[in-house]
Each structure stands twice: as C-alpha cells, then as structure tokens.
C-alpha cells in the first residue's frame, strides 16, 4: 500500500481553505518547503509571511494577526513550536484566547536520523496543560487535511502535530467528513483489549490487532486523534467492555495522550488493566524510524507482546 505524506495534504488543504476564506493567513519560520506551507505561499503570496528563523516572534505575530480577525495558521517543526515558544503560546495565544492554529510537523521520533534535537516527544504534554488550547494528532494523511479544516472552522487556539514520515491511508472519505472535534474514531471492533493510539502509532495498532487475531485475541482499535478534548465516553465504553487498555504514542509516556487516558480511567473508577506505551522518559537518538520504533518499544511487535501479556496475565 502506498504511503502519503500528511504534510503534503496539509499544504494542499491550506490552499483550498485560502480559496474559500480570504481571512486565512499562513506563517512559517523558514521551513515552508518541509511543512509544505509554501504551497499556500505560492498561491497567496500576500497572505503568506515567512517570519524567518525567529519562532518566538512568529507565534506572537500570529496572535496579533488573529486579533484583527485573521484565522492564522503557523507552522514549523514541532521541536520549535511549541518547543521554543511555550511562553509565547501561553501568553499571546492561549491566555489571550486568539484564533491561532499551530500546525506543526516532524513530531515524534520518526524524524529519525536528525536525532533527539529534532524529535519532539513532549509537545502534547506542553500543549495539553494550557487552558483554551485544543490538541490534535491525526493518524491518516487525509485526516491531517480534515483536521486543518476543522481548525479553520472553529474559533480558538489549537495545536496539531503530524509526522515527518508518510502515513498509510486508513480512512475513506465519508469517515473523514463525519469527523468532529472531541470524537474518536473506532477503527476496529474487539472484545478482549482496547488499543488507543494517534499519529503513526494507529497503523502499528491496526497491524498488531491483525496479529493478535491470529492468536485468538480480539483487539478494539480506537483513533484518539483529538487528544484534547478527549472522547471520554467512547474510551470509557470500550474500557468497560474489554477491561484492558493500552495507549500507544510517539511521545513521552509522561504527559501525553496516555496520561490523559490514565487520568480518565482512574477518575471514573474504571476497573481495567492499563498500560501506557511511549518513549520511556529517556532521550531518543538518531536512526532509521523503524529501528527507533523497535528500540524505543513502540513498534507493532511490542504492541503485540504487551497485549498478549495483558490478556494472558
């Protein structure tokens, strides 16, 4: 199956949004060729601002534009926004409740060979704690475009992260059209264990679920692309049904979607076995993305192993 780059879909979606709405404005910090915002820049040069390698300024400028009624998309690598600009997002965007859409690429360890300096695994934790901020991590290339559309349609500060690596197409068009902020997508029904994932890890979970089926374990797979707000009802329903929950993400196990689900399960008193899979509070390193997934314990094989252990325990 062919893989598609979510960044390409994002860039094309921006052009489409720009055609529909003259208030869409796009900023980038000298990475427009990588984030694909250059496509918007070519089509709408007046509404595209390359802010140079000065991310802090870019974020506050985005807030200023938003205060004048613009819907502002600002993009760069996730290590830089939110990585370098937490305070600007906190003050100028979230606290000021500006209509700024931080859509950032190269999130997670799939960035690969550039090493930890360019592998953002803390962004969800950083953005999730900010009031007013919504947090999304699409799991399918075309879903990334649909997330950008939803971000443009709804008012408020939002953050989305996508991978550098291309993604497998998981969804048909009708599924994407029905997407709503705060609603998860059930990718596969199952009875024995619930696998919750976002980003590239969703496909790993789908592969793991197929393997598990051969071993007699029926895994339910849910795409939690909307990390904040989280689809509490569906997660609780599934956790009650299977009694076993594993979260998988290309993020630190501290503070990410896994933590959000843990908080939910604990507070609602759900009686379920639970495990977070993610980067285990260590710095990752350079390498091939597949090798990194394997070494840092988030590949399909690890998901199968952890699921088996939980089900057979």
């Amino acid at each position: 199956m062919k893989r598609i780059n979510p960044r390409d879909v994002y860039g094309e979606t921006l052009v489409k949004l720009g055609e529909q709405n003259p208030n869409i404005v796009v900023l980038d910090a000298d990475l427009s060729k990588s984030t694909k915002t250059y496509k918007f820049g070519e089509r709408f040069p007046d509404r595209f601002f390359n802010m140079g390698i000065a991310e802090a300024n870019m974020v506050s400028v985005a807030a200023g534009l938003a205060s004048c009624g613009k819907i502002v998309f600002a993009s760069t690598f996730a290590v830089f926004v939110p990585g370098k600009t937490y305070d600007q997002i906190r003050m100028s965007v979230a606290y000021s409740n500006m209509n700024v859409k931080l859509f950032c690429t190269h999130a997670g360890i799939n960035v690969g060979k550039d090493g930890f300096s360019h592998q953002m695994i803390e962004d969800i934790a950083l953005m999730r704690v900010l009031p007013n901020m919504k947090v999304f991590a699409p799991s399918d290339p075309y879903q990334a475009g649909r997330v950008a559309e939803l971000m443009a349609e709804h008012y408020g500060p939002m953050y989305a992260r996508v991978s550098r690596e291309p993604m497998y197409q998981i969804y048909e068009r009708d599924v994407l059209e029905e997407m709503e902020i705060g609603k998860s997508i059930k990718v596969r029904e199952g009875d024995d264990i619930t696998l919750l994932a976002h980003g590239l890890m969703l496909h790993e979970c789908i592969l793991a679920a197929r393997d598990l089926e051969k071993r007699g374990i029926s895994a339910e797979v849910i795409d939690i692309w909307s990390i904040k707000p989280l689809d509490e009802n569906e997660i609780i329903k599934s956790a009650r049904k299977t009694g076993r929950v594993i979260t998988v993400e290309e993020h630190s196990i501290i503070g990410g979607a896994g933590s959000a689900v843990a908080e939910l399960i604990a507070e609602k008193g759900i009686n379920a076995k639970f495990k977070r899979m993610g980067i285990m509070d260590v710095f990752s390193e350079s390498g091939d993305p597949r090798d990194l997934f394997e070494k840092y314990g988030i590949s399909k094989e690890h998901i199968v192993k952890n699921s088996m252990e939980m089900c057979l325990d």
Binding site: F49, A54, N57, S60, S67, D87, S96
Partner: protein, 291 residues
C-alpha cells in the same frame, strides 16, 4: 492623521490629566498593597498623550476594526493603562479599586479576555512588540489606515524576542507601527547599564531599520510632537520613540528609587505621594483660572 496644534492649553490639559492619573495609580496600588509604581509613573505621560489626544479610538466601540491600537508590552505598568481606560470610559471607574482582587476584571498584568480596551495579555516581557507587528501586518493586508502603538520597557529590550520583532517590523516595512521605549534606566536588580547594557540604544534601533526619535518622555509637548512626526515619515520604516524618563516620576521619594519598582506605597508613603500630586494638580488647575 489628525493635524494637531500643540498649544500650551492642550499641553496643560494633558499634564493635568496625567497628574490625576498618577493619583489614581498611587491610590490603586496602595489599596491593592502590591504592584509596580515606578514603571507606571514613568510611562503615564505617554499613555495619556495617546489616549486623550493622539489616537483614534472609541470607548463605546472597543472592537472597531479601524481603531488605532495601543499595546502595553511592559505589562507591569497595567495600573497606568487601567486608570486611562477607565477615565476614557472603557469600564466603570469603580473597578479600579478592585485591582488585583479576586473576581476583578483588573488583573495584576493586562488580560484582554477580562478587561475592555486591552488588546492582548501581557506581563511576560518581550511579546508585545511582536504582537504589534502582527496587528500592523493585518492593517497592511486589509488596507486599513489605523496605526499601532506599543510601549516597551527599557529593561524589556534585553529580551531577544524584542529584536526578532524589530527585525521583522523593518523587513515588512511596517510604517504603521510606532514603538515607544520607556527609558527610565532602572530594572529590578539595578541600572540597565550595570545589568545588561542597552547603549548605544539609538544606534541599535537605527541599525535594525527603524526611524528613531529621542525625547524627554515627561515633556508633553515633546511627546505630542514626536507622535506627529512618527506619523509623518514616508520612508516605509517603523518608528521608535526613545523616551528618556524617570522611574517614579511625579512622586519625589519614588523618583529614581529602585525600591518602588515592585513595591506598593505604605500608608505614610501613600499620604505623602497624594499630597505632592494634589499640589501639582492644583497648580495645573490654577493656571486654567488665570487663562
């Protein structure tokens, strides 16, 4: 742009308002038992000049897309802005006495979501100039003729983001952006030149592609003239007005006194300060009767 005649009567009137605002600031801080008197008193003359004469704004329509914008980047001078906004009618003056209290619309530092007339939340230094760049870019994009005024502290200009913003403003030829730097020469830990070294400040801003004017930031006529001049430049550059000011200006024992960066006056200090300011107020009023 309005054409102003900065006659003595206008200057006297604005000085009188500034004196009343100083009284209000002292009263607010005394009641709140915390806050930043020094930087409020050094900045208030410029804020009064903007809101009571120079800027195009309508307190009844605070979201008017054509309004001139004022952004207080040095957010710790919030009481100065609040006093002026209330006097203009953006909200009830009674709110001023609830500064920094729980359930108040007046936070310790500006919060746009709570206070009518505040454009953006500030208080973490360095962000207001960047925000102003965004507002100025939007003005160019929408072909609106509003101007964007932003007040930054001199200590604040130690923040790297200020210089990112300065570079982007000249890159995008934002001649609708006018920044004012409150050059009171003091920051929490000492003088700016001891702590970090901002000189040569005029040359620095010039080298970033800005028009630079340098004035006495407590001389109302100089402030008005500089604002007019900043609006008259036709060279596609943003303008920086370096305002040489005195931290604590208007209250003798607060002037150039580091103690009053972030400490509110006690009862005795409050009474002394009000006495001084009331005398000044009477002098400025008295001149009116002679006219």
């Amino acid at each position: 742009m309005k054409k102003h005649v900065h006659d003595n009567e206008l200057v006297r009137k604005l000085n009188l308002i500034a004196t009343r605002m100083r009284k209000k600031i002292i009263e607010m801080l005394y009641r709140a038992k915390s806050g930043h008197p020094g930087g409020c008193l050094s900045a208030i003359d410029a804020i009064v000049a903007l809101y009571f004469h120079h800027m195009r704004h309508d307190p009844k329509n605070p979201k008017d897309p054509n309004r001139d914008r004022f952004i207080l980047s040095k957010g710790h001078a919030a009481p100065a802005l609040y006093a002026v906004l209330a006097e203009c009618g953006y909200f009830d003056k009674k709110e001023l006495l609830r500064l920094r209290e729980i359930n108040s619309i007046l936070q310790g530092h500006p919060a746009n979501t709570l206070t009518p007339g505040v454009e953006v939340s500030t208080g973490s230094l360095g962000q207001g100039l960047s925000f102003a760049v965004g507002v100025a870019l939007a003005g160019k994009l929408d072909k609106r003729d509003y101007r964007v005024y932003v007040l930054i502290g001199d200590g604040e200009a130690e923040e790297g983001q200020i210089w990112e913003a300065a570079a982007s403003a000249s890159h995008y030829k934002l001649d609708n952006l006018i920044a004012m730097l409150d050059r009171n020469r003091l920051q929490i830990d000492g003088t700016t030149e001891e702590i970090y070294g901002l000189e040569p400040i005029v040359e620095r801003w010039k080298s970033f592609g800005w028009n630079v004017l340098e004035i006495d930031g407590h001389d109302m006529k100089q402030i008005l003239d500089a604002l007019d001049k900043a609006c008259s430049f036709k060279n596609g550059k943003p303008t920086m007005i370096i305002m040489n000011t005195i931290k604590g200006k208007g209250v003798s024992f607060m002037e150039n006194n580091l103690k009053f960066h972030g400490i509110a006056p006690n009862e005795e200090e409050y009474k002394m300060a009000m006495k001084e300011l009331e005398e000044l107020e009477r002098r400025l009023e008295g001149k009116n009767e002679e006219d």
